[in-house]
Amino acid sequence: MELILALSIGVLGGSGVWLLMRPRTFQLIIGLSLLSYAVNLFIFSMGRFPVGRPPVLEPGTAGDPAQYADPLPQALVLTAIVIGFATTALFLVVMLAARGLTGGDHVDGRRQDH
Amino acid sequence: MRWLLPHPVVSAGLFVFWLLASRSVAPGPVVVGAIIAVLGGWALALLDPPQVRIRRPGLILRLLGRVFVDIIRSNIAVARIVLSRRPARRAGFMHIRLSLREPHALAALACILTATPGTAWLEFDPEEGWLLLHVLDLIDEAEWVHIVKERYEAPLLEIFR
């Protein structure tokens, strides 16, 4: 199981990194999104992927760590998701502004090669 | 009463929705649900949708039953087409001229036709009332016209009058 997840983190991350190095702004934004998926899963994986643990406590009890998933990586992922969302939106708008002002969608402005 | 509940049906729906979602009929959720239902009605009123007047609840039930049966039947039919190795069928477009104009009724018809596998709502011309359908198994076009016009449109015309 762990291997599947590790591999999927790798695939997401690799695709994201590949796109990160592409010349078009849109590729970049997709790449950043894929990378942030990878990173979110990565953070999550640092809580060791517990299978079949209940997600919330029984009311009125203190949770036993052996019974529950590590909640902290989850909280971190949530924050990371939100921040990732915000920055993606911002990058999109900057990308649009750059497109409008430079006339092209190359990351460096009007460069035409590859 | 109008100002409190501009869309009573929707408000009622929201109230039920809330209770279902809360999985409880304790006083707390009921009160919150009621407030939310009213607020939801107001929110909808902001958008100024056409007023819906629904009659004949009996007919609604009958229509629902009919649709239920049709869905099961067409599910099986379409599943068979999908899974059979060499399906003997003739898919195609067909036009039906509807008398329905009421948007909610049209939406309901769209739901019905979509939920029924085998028919796909493609395009509707609100002026002339032409509906373009795609049918997966267009063996008898007249049969389909009958189904749509008689089985679904007629009751809908009654309900949303």
Partner: protein
């Protein structure tokens, strides 16, 4: 006995849904046209939602219901936006 049957059926159902997920994903991947991908994505969401529901049954908690509810609601929004974009060239006119 019935427990074994139910467990296995749930497992089988999840495998089937997983396969369905794969089939749909293939359509999304392969296209050939944008509308195919959009329809594919819509169904991908449905398949995903069914997976969540069966997972809920399997684990006996109805906490995943919210996730399913949200999938049902939002799968629609994103595919509708995609379709609208295809249809009108922009999502909001």
């Amino acid at each position: 006995m019935s427990l074994v049957v139910l467990s296995w059926s749930l497992f089988a159902a999840q495998i089937m849904l997983g396969l369905a997920f794969g089939c749909t994903a293939w359509r999304v991947l392969h296209g050939p046209r944008a509308q195919d991908r959009v329809v594919g994505l819509d169904i991908l969401y449905i398949n995903g939602m069914l997976l969540l529901l069966t997972f809920g049954i399997r684990t006996g908690t109805d906490l995943y219901f919210e996730a399913a509810l949200v999938v049902a609601l939002l799968g629609f929004v994103s595919t509708a936006a995609l379709a609208k974009f295809l249809m009108r060239g922009e999502v909001i006119e």
